[in-house]
Symmetry: C2
Subunit: 527 residues, 2 copies
């Protein structure tokens, strides 16, 4: 069922000469299928088909669009064990995770199907005319959100399903009315092709135009670069490293016509331990965090890589228990030798920094490509002076910073780069006395958590997954939840437009019965 070819719209092609294979990290051997990297010509064909498809896809009715999204979910489920097994063989992740992530992916697709069926997401806004107004007559103006055009989505190494081929970016783009070209992630090209086949089947079954979706294989950066530079591509979604995301952002901003890049990048997700809570709940916290740091072998963008507290017995005890607990956890496999290579290299670099001590590192024999979870600690002053210690170490690693005072704690927070999340561990009455610490943290993050862990990103309307740079390239948007659709649209106004030529969303009679802002009042009524 896996061909190794590229989906150029509905057609499977393999015109390029460059090939590669994926790797089973648990067995440390190559998987069987050979993948053909997309050629320059195939890339141009995919974009050209997407531009053509956009002309009809943007006008597809909300019910047909919902049918398409639900059909993708159905077709992914229909792939059943071949998908789960391919996923596992390409990631080293366990079956439970594979199925959980599939559930999340399906859930996202159905969530967007519901959103477009309801239809109010277009933020229809109507100001009716007052042609008798003096000195100038007021014209009828009506605004709604319309799709941007073909969108390129980069598959993410750590979420082959939920943030890749038919993940949140793709689902939101389809919901908006944008064709999608996926630059498949080379580490899980087989999983990618299977999901792509599900999208293509769904598109054909529900009568979507050829080119509404393409899936391009690539093992290097060339395919991505060519896509981002293509004049007919109108926006880009990416989840991955700061270096990769920034490179795409730079390419996109330097185009003759710049386009938006939504890159969700690195984060060390600072956790602030306030003293009373550390004292009263230190042991439980340490146990909870040992699990959070090693969850998914630390390969989550919300992994708590930085824990900051105020020096003292309570913090000492927390570090001690965290260190004891974390080495009790069975090490697990990372996604790929390159990923574990980076983990070991970045960790070794951190350990060479002056003043950093290791309080725990798993030191028993481990299987190949498995990661040794590690806890380190450093003084606040040292951390503040050495920004190397502020960099993400992607994997089961965390650094505990010991501050002299609440002031130093606040200074450290203010000097952090932008983060996806920040967590405050506090007793209820304690929080109000650390107002300025909490505020400093709020300024640096996209989501702030009280007495919890940053891992776990609920897919719900109130979720903000993003944050100040470099957590993301645009803090004004979320990558998760219904509002992520706003990345792929622009508002558009009709002035004095004849009612029968307006899109249904803006017609007087409100045939879709959606919620609209009419002359300043939010209403489902007709005009």
């Amino acid at each position: 069922m896996i061909t190794g070819k590229n989906y150029i719209g509905n057609q499977l092609l393999s015109e390029g000469n460059k090939t590669y294979k994926t790797l089973n990290p648990k067995l440390n051997i190559e998987n069987e299928h050979t993948f053909f990297e997309a050629s320059e010509e195939e890339i141009n064909m995919a974009v050209s088909l997407a531009s053509k498809a956009f002309e009809t896809f943007k006008k597809v009715s909300r019910f047909k669009k919902a049918e398409f999204l639900n059909a993708i979910a159905d077709e992914i489920l229909a792939l059943d064990t071949i998908l789960i097994n391919t996923y596992m063989s390409e990631t080293g992740l366990p079956e439970g995770r594979a199925k959980g992530e599939r559930g999340r992916t399906i859930g996202q697709l159905r969530m967007f199907a519901d959103l477009v069926t309801n239809g109010s997401w277009v933020e229809a806004t109507i100001d009716t005319a007052d042609l008798d107004r003096k000195p100038i007559p007021k014209q009828d103006i009506r605004k709604m959100l319309i799709p941007l055009g073909p969108v390129v989505v980069f598959g993410a190494s750590n979420f082959p399903l939920a943030y890749s081929t038919a993940g949140g970016d793709t689902a939101a783009a389809f919901a908006a009315g944008c064709p999608v070209i996926v630059k498949s992630h080379p580490m899980h090209a087989g999983t990618g092709e299977l999901v792509a086949s599900a999208i293509i089947k769904a598109a054909q079954k529900t009568g979507m135009p050829n080119g509404v979706f393409s899936n391009l294989n690539s093992s290097g950066i060339e395919v991505g670069v060519q896509l981002v530079k293509h004049p007919n591509v109108k926006a880009v979604g990416f989840t991955g490293s700061i270096r990769g995301g920034r490179a795409l952002f730079d390419l996109a901003s330097q185009r003759p016509e710049p386009i938006p890049v939504f890159a969700e990048m690195g984060s060390i997700n600072p956790v602030i331990l306030l003293p009373k809570a550390t004292k009263s709940r230190g042991e439980n916290l340490a146990k909870t965090y040992a699990k959070s740091i090693t969850l998914g072998t630390g390969q989550f963008c919300t992994n708590p890589g930085l824990i900051i507290g105020i020096k003292g017995e309570a913090l000492d005890s927390f570090i001690q228990i965290l260190s004891n607990e974390i080495i009790k956890i069975e090490p697990s496999c990372m996604l790929h030798p390159n990923i574990i290579g980076n983990y070991e290299r970045n960790k070794a670099n951190a350990l060479q920094q002056d003043g950093l001590s290791v309080t725990a590192e798993y030191d028993q024999d481990i299987a190949i490509n498995h990661a040794r979870q590690t806890i380190t600690t450093v003084e606040g002053k040292t951390f503040l002076e050495n920004t190397t210690l502020h960099q993400e170490i992607f994997g089961p690693f965390s650094l505990v910073v010991q501050c002299e005072s609440a002031e130093e704690l606040e200074t450290i927070i203010s000097n952090l780069e932008g983060q996806l999340t920040g967590t405050i561990i506090a007793e209820n009455e304690e929080a109000s006395t650390y107002n300025s610490v909490i505020e400093a943290l709020q300024n640096r993050v996209g989501r702030i958590i009280f007495n919890g862990v940053p891992t776990g990103v609920e897919v719900c309307p109130a979720m903000l997954h993003g944050g100040p740079y470099p957590a993301s390239t645009d803090s004004r948007f979320t990558a998760v939840g219904i509002h992520s659709i706003k990345r792929w649209v622009r508002p558009f106004s009709y002035q004095s437009w004849p009612n029968d030529l307006l899109p249904d969303e803006l017609k007087n009679e409100n045939p879709l019965h959606i919620s609209r802002l009419v002359n300043g009042i939010q209403t489902n009524e007709s005009i």
Copy 2:
């Protein structure tokens, strides 16, 4: 009352050595006041004060914020004749325009005061917890829009009030909770200082923090460059040329931490004349367009610089009448010798292009700095091949393109750069037979107009003032209307946050009685 100094927060300073004067274009002599360009130190002081002010300003209650916005409007009105006279002496624009623009500016400030008083603009979104959910408990998550931080606003040459010091960008940024630093436009520095004094007075009267506003003089690009590069500046608003806007966009994207630039730039605002309407209403249309092209000496970003029709008697007659009508209009003064210099230069360059003919150019004696309105025409094929003819000529100029066919018309539209507006002149029954032409136009613009003129940008919720690049640097936002506040904010999520520590907008009891999306339902109820 005009000192020529910079407002660095509440303080008037003139530490720099570089000075300049504004010019009265009607008299072609310098105005009396000397302006001191802001020094590097003054710029840093202004940004530093703005950062400090942000800490308190972002928490100011909605009523205090509305009081501040209304007080600015009151203080601008209180400036009375000195403001109107200074405006006229620095722009050559007539009193009616000065008062009209003041009215628009006041209206925008009060509109945002109403918006923040209502409070629902923060898009509060709440998903309550379900701690019994299997397999993972659902946490309580609540999201709202929060301000980005200090914003830099560049004054626009053609709107000294409505798009400059206390114009739409500034009003929206204050409403969002962002301090503002204005880079004053050198052509109307006196008007700028007067309005700045009104903002400072309003800030002091309503107890806003020092630094919530600064006004920096500058005659060159250095002040703007330093501001956009300053790490504590978080967003930029600009209205002006493509060259200027793109330069700021490039600077901002190349920062270590990129920031958004909302540049509303050039546009030729294509007007499509469909054949039947041209035949039946050609004379009226020509008269209407002669006025629209010369309105404000053609110095509007929505000026119709391009009219496209299909060859034939009707179009010939339209061109003839438009040409006759436009030279009957009394020429008017442009904003500045530099502006008229550019107009003459760009026009001369266009007239040198092969195939372009002049059908009308005002040829009587005119006063200094007054512009000769000009109508030109060209064949569709020639226009398509020569993109020099696609460039904006800022002033009372328009080019009529004569197409061979509807196909050529559509091709021309598809090859235009992004535009603020597009206009369709059609009989009602005619529009539906030119569907693909209308759609091609929709793809290139931010606002589409039926049987009207593009000049006149209504300030209302349904207005989209912006459009695909290079009409603006970000088609996803509007520069006019309440939704322009979205440029200066980012969404922010609280997870499991104690109710009493949440901002009022997100508290269970909904103390502000705002409209919120609670568990998927839009409601004003408490939880």
